[in-house]
Symmetry: C2
Subunit: 311 residues, 2 copies
Amino acid sequence: MINQLVNKIKETGAPIVVGLDPTMKFVPEQIKKKAFDEFGETLEGAAEAIWQFNKEIVDNIFDVIPAVKPQIAMYEQFGIPGMMAYKKTIDYAKEKGLIVIGDIKRGDIGSTSEAYAAGHLGKVQVGSKFYYGFDEDFATLNPYMGSDSVKPFIKVCKEEKKGVFVLVKTSNPSSGEFQDRLLADADNRPLYEVVGELVAKWGEDHMGDSYSYVGAVVGATYPEMGKILRRLMPKSYILVPGYGAQGGKGADLVHFFNEDGLGAIVNSSRGIIAAYQQEKYASFGAEHFAEASRKAVEDMRKDIMGALENR
Amino acid sequence: MINQLVNKIKETGAPIVVGLDPTMKFVPEQIKKKAFDEFGETLEGAAEAIWQFNKEIVDNIFDVIPAVKPQIAMYEQFGIPGMMAYKKTIDYAKEKGLIVIGDIKRGDIGSTSEAYAAGHLGKVQVGSKFYYGFDEDFATLNPYMGSDSVKPFIKVCKEEKKGVFVLVKTSNPSSGEFQDRLLADADNRPLYEVVGELVAKWGEDHMGDSYSYVGAVVGATYPEMGKILRRLMPKSYILVPGYGAQGGKGADLVHFFNEDGLGAIVNSSRGIIAAYQQEKYASFGAEHFAEASRKAVEDMRKDIMGALENR
């Protein structure tokens, strides 16, 4: 799957993943109206609205990007119907040839991580049969509990040829509160570097052709740290959130890429899926929101590729 | 809800939470057979089996414990049907008067944590209406992303009078990999102490009568650290996993309690729910598995209370 991700990035020329993180305020009125007419103002109605919203976006961008990243929280908030919309979104995106990164940020003690890994990336046994639960291609992980919370995922990734992205340095303002702490027992280097080194080490154990199946999450909002982490994890793909709405710019992103122009995939969520709400794309109107998303992807691609050419 | 938890612990004399973490190998054959006869060896069949298993356990222990803690991973592994069993388990436990701690270990950037908080502890808006998604009473959180990943939960907790338990020092063998690192910028104290101090600070902002709504998770397997953390977070309830199957004993637990005999609630999962599979409780047989669970709760209560009396 990491080889497939690299190939699709090369094919599309777009090291971009679109975050399918729908909230009701991003969904155009015509979609909400139709869903509420059918299901009422209920959790089922909300789930139908976000699913139809996602579907139209996927239909308009599947051929210009390699991957989508649904943020499971945005579905979990709508309870069971929301989870069903999450699963439908995964299945539909895969049907359209997209790679799906489940932004689930799970991680627990070993036996519990085994269950998460089985449910999201692998199969679970029921009697004599085996079933895929959610079946994403990649998942994001939270490493706070250490190696034995991550390794069950890597084991499943090997069996399924799937991958993970481990949180190393996140894009949010308070990410430094713990992640930037200087470790007296590691030559006063920050925690995120030590986590990054472990990501590289875990990855050695599960390599694709040129990159490992164990990637890292490093926020676009911290380009200087990205530069250091790029060096520390040369074979790990970096999933870079924080572009656009959170403040990251194309020029900030060059440090996340290797010399081969690969090694990073940049996420944008509301910058793409709610593009029609920006002044820049207002001319599309709510009716054509998904075409605005396609245009926003093209602009993002140009911004990143321009920055890479000028580095 | 923290007041209610404290009251129920006093009433039952049992600072115990039972982890409803069903895996297929814990579920007795008769329950599996019935579920598979009805739904086949499918995800629906597995979900039905774990739900019936949970129900029988809850029916047998609801009057002797204050709370249950379903581990969501054990349900997520069975996909959507599993999530439905999670929700049914929550609703049923609450109906029986139990407090429900959702062991979800979520945490993300602010806007995403808002969605998790809405879905698990609060309400989500759909048009003009508001709905509860999963509606647990407490949730566990992963703090790796810092304050702005935790605060949206605290905001919802204030509105809903609910609470959280933040991972501080987890029970698993590799928890020290990051959590024990000594921080040069905090007088060489370990990371878990700094996280614990923040838990205490967050809790000041949301106090019940005698304890705060912001608790901590500290593993029974690290009693010496528990002693220090008890002092650092005097007003925070400590949720203590790792008793029993993971190796923690009653005598290890005394450090997690305050002088008032309160301040900690100890979790046991497979030690209770799969008690019938232990030699000690084998005489109950698979038919009476839930009575074995009740006996195991009683024994656990005696073990803890005995240790507290002898300290």
